[in-house]
């Protein structure tokens, strides 16, 4: 089934549209993500700058007494409360703010308001090359997210204000997660929708293909249904129907021409033949009998050649009418071998049959017989005396394979590539050059193939392959 899926155009179309859709939406999300991340950062940077300004002013106006630390600490605490309350799903506050102020000319420990100890932060700040007034991200050991830090350089004191990116990270992660869920479900949905609609459309094409194939093999009378709407596929059906009309009319034309030729030639030949035959039965004069007999046989050969020519012409134009029935090929071959045994014996040919039983084809019995007779008579006409002819029949992969092989001189190289063309014959051949063309045309009309080759030992090999009909279990 998966292998079958991959061969349908619906599969390929929906894969490509889905891929394009998925990439497009992913790109759109990346842009949104980038914009949101930047907006959040701008917001926190504005806050940091504003608060740093406030704190700097407070610090400049405050005397350095023992209350100083407490007041600055409280101002810093208050500042964190000004932030919109960002909490995660478990209700924990996601903002983390620190404030650090150190005096350059004093050995006092710096003023610290914030989570944990000031040492790790101080180290991280010293490592980062900060520019006054411009917020930057620093990584602090022991904290999973970065801190956005701004610093102000006063005359005596240096002041740092930092805000954890935890809230922004959490927000962006939630955004990404929701996008992924939404994205994968819409992509899947999009794939299903495009697959189903492509498949529905292409099934109409498939129906056209099936019908046209059937029309080709079962006569040209049938037509495709033409839907009222005029989309591309309806137009395809209409175009096919117009084409079938033309093919049918030219096939009918060909048939009426061949019938007319046959009729116009057969009527006079019938009367000539009849006149000759009545002469034979009336006049026992031995002098003419042989000549009259020869004339009759000549007429028969002429008509035979005419019929075969017309059959080949019709078959090659796809206009041969097949009167199909279930034919047991093994039985037909055996019967013909029986019929031709004395003729083969007379030339000291040995016929070997290697026939699989019950090889059944759906074919025109009469035409198939003529095909086989053509091949057998070819052997009789071309083989030097005392050869061996092997006929093998087997069924393989839904085909009936008939191989006729001899150990004679094989096909001459000059005809082996053209042997199936009309009127092509070997230099020493006495036939009218229609035999193999007829074989090929009829086998093709049945949907099979005919091949000629020379065996490694040099003999001629003719291989016919016909579509086998469903074998009934023996």
């Amino acid at each position: 089934m998966p292998k079958l899926l991959q061969t349908t155009a619906a599969w390929r179309i929906s894969i490509w549209t889905t891929l394009a859709f998925a990439l497009g939406t992913a790109l759109a999300f990346s842009i949104v993500y980038f914009l949101v991340a930047r907006a959040i950062q701008e917001r926190s940077d504005a806050w940091l700058n504003g608060e740093a300004e406030v704190l700097a002013r407070v610090s400049a106006n405050m005397p350095r007494d023992r209350l100083y630390k407490r007041i600055i600490g409280e101002v810093a605490e208050l500042a964190t409360r000004e932030l919109p309350d960002e909490r995660n799903a478990r209700g924990q506050s996601l903002n983390s703010v620190f404030f650090l102020e150190s005096e350059s000319n004093s050995n006092e420990s710096p003023l610290w308001v914030g989570p944990g100890s000031d040492e790790l932060f101080l180290r991280a700040i010293q490592q980062a090359k900060l520019v006054p007034g411009i917020p930057q991200s620093i990584k602090v050991e022991g904290w999973p997210t970065t801190f956005r830090v701004v610093f102000r350089q006063g005359k005596e004191r240096t002041m740092y204000l930092g805000l954890s990116d935890r809230g922004a990270t959490y927000l962006l992660r939630t955004l990404t997660l929701r996008f992924l869920v939404l994205w994968s479900s819409t992509v899947l949905m999009g794939f299903l929708i495009s697959y189903v609609s492509a498949r529905r459309t292409l099934l109409r094409v498939q129906r056209i293909t099936d019908t046209v194939a059937r029309i080709g093999s079962e006569g040209l009378g049938e037509r495709l249904p033409e839907p009222v709407n005029s989309d591309e596929i309806s137009r395809l059906a209409k175009t096919f129907n117009r084409m079938l009309d033309r093919i049918q009319s030219s096939v009918n034309e060909l048939r009426s021409v061949t019938d007319a030729v046959a009729h116009d030639l057969k009527s006079p030949v019938t009367s000539i033949r009849g006149a000759l035959e009545t002469t034979l039965s009336r006049d026992p004069n031995e002098k003419w009998r042989d000549s009259v007999g020869d004339a009759i046989e000549g007429l028969d050969r002429l008509l035979n050649a005419l019929d075969t020519t017309l059959d080949v012409a019709e078959a090659q134009a796809g206009a041969l009418q097949l009167d199909r029935s279930t034919v047991d090929l093994s039985a037909v071959v055996r019967q013909l071998a029986d019929l031709y045994k004395p003729a083969m014996d007379e030339r000291h040919h040995e016929v070997m049959l290697d026939l699989e039983e019950q090889v059944v084809v759906d074919a025109d019995w009469g035409l198939l017989n003529r095909v086989l007779i053509n091949l057998i008579e070819n052997e009789i006409a071309h083989l030097p005396a005392g050869c061996q002819v092997t006929v093998r029949l087997s069924s393989r992969d839904g085909s009936a394979i008939l191989v006729i092989e001899d150990n004679g001189p094989g096909f001459p190289p000059d005809i082996s590539t053209r042997a199936f063309k009309r009127f092509v014959r070997g230099k020493d051949s006495h036939g009218h050059g229609l035999g193999l063309a007829f074989v090929d045309a009829v086998v093709r009309a049945h949907g099979g193939t005919a091949k000629i080759s020379n065996s490694p030992a040099g003999g001629a090999v003719v291989t016919l392959s016909l579509p086998a009909s469903v074998l009934h279990a023996a």
Partner: protein, 225 residues
């Protein structure tokens, strides 16, 4: 026996009339379907020979019209068409027969005889056939020439039986293939002749009086010379 031939080709009319008259039939001729229908309605014919390609009407239609008016005599259809029409096959099942042009006179006569015999329903189902000193026992599949038992293969026996049934009448190669091998084909090689040679070598081998004769261009006949 009185026959009606409906055929527009004058040359074919001519030789058919001669040949059939020589075989002892009374023959009437119509050159088109209208005239044929009028003559057929007289109801005096034992069989019809009707060409399919008539100038004024399709031969099949003529047959249908005659049948509709109660004419039941068997029809031998002549056709110059290459493929045999489904409708013609239907008629064949209904007891009529068809022959494609050009045909051998011998075959036309044989089929006509067959049709007339069928319509009068007197089948010759004897179990012994005899011509001169050749005897066939159809039950035991034995053939004797005088006192001598012939060693024949089943195929040779069927062939000899067919010749014997038509003793005195010419059979063509096509007829032999049709009746003995059940194949309607026209071989271009001498496949039938070889069978006949073999049979002849057994039947006529040590007899001063040959029975199987070749008629060049026509076929074979088994007869007491």
């Amino acid at each position: 026996m009185r026959l009606l031939i409906v055929e527009d080709d004058v040359a074919i009319q001519g030789f058919l009339k001669r040949a059939l008259a020589e075989s002892g039939y009374q023959v009437d001729i119509a050159s088109n379907a209208k005239a044929g229908e009028l003559k057929a309605l007289e109801g005096i014919h034992d069989a019809f020979i009707i060409d399919l390609g008539l100038p004024d009407m399709d031969g099949l239609e003529l047959i249908v019209r005659c049948r509709a008016q109660g004419i039941s005599a068997p029809v031998l259809i002549l056709s110059a068409r290459r493929s045999v029409d489904e409708r013609v096959k239907g008629l064949e099942q209904g007891g009529d027969d068809y022959l494609t042009k050009p045909f051998a006179l011998a075959e036309l006569l044989a089929r006509l005889r067959n049709l007339l015999r069928r319509s009068s329903a007197t089948q010759n189902d004897s179990v012994h056939l005899q011509t001169a000193d050749l005897q066939l026992d159809l039950v035991h599949h034995e053939a004797r020439r005088g006192d001598h038992l012939l060693q024949l293969t089943p195929q040779e026996f069927s062939l000899l039986e067919y010749l014997c049934r038509n003793a005195g009448r010419v059979v063509t190669r096509t007829m032999i293939l049709d009746h003995v091998w059940r194949m309607r084909i026209d071989p271009t090689t001498n496949v039938v002749d070889v069978h006949i040679y073999r049979l002849r070598s057994k039947v006529d081998h040590d007899s001063a009086m040959p029975l199987i004769h070749t008629i060049r261009g026509v076929g074979y006949v088994l007869k007491h010379a």
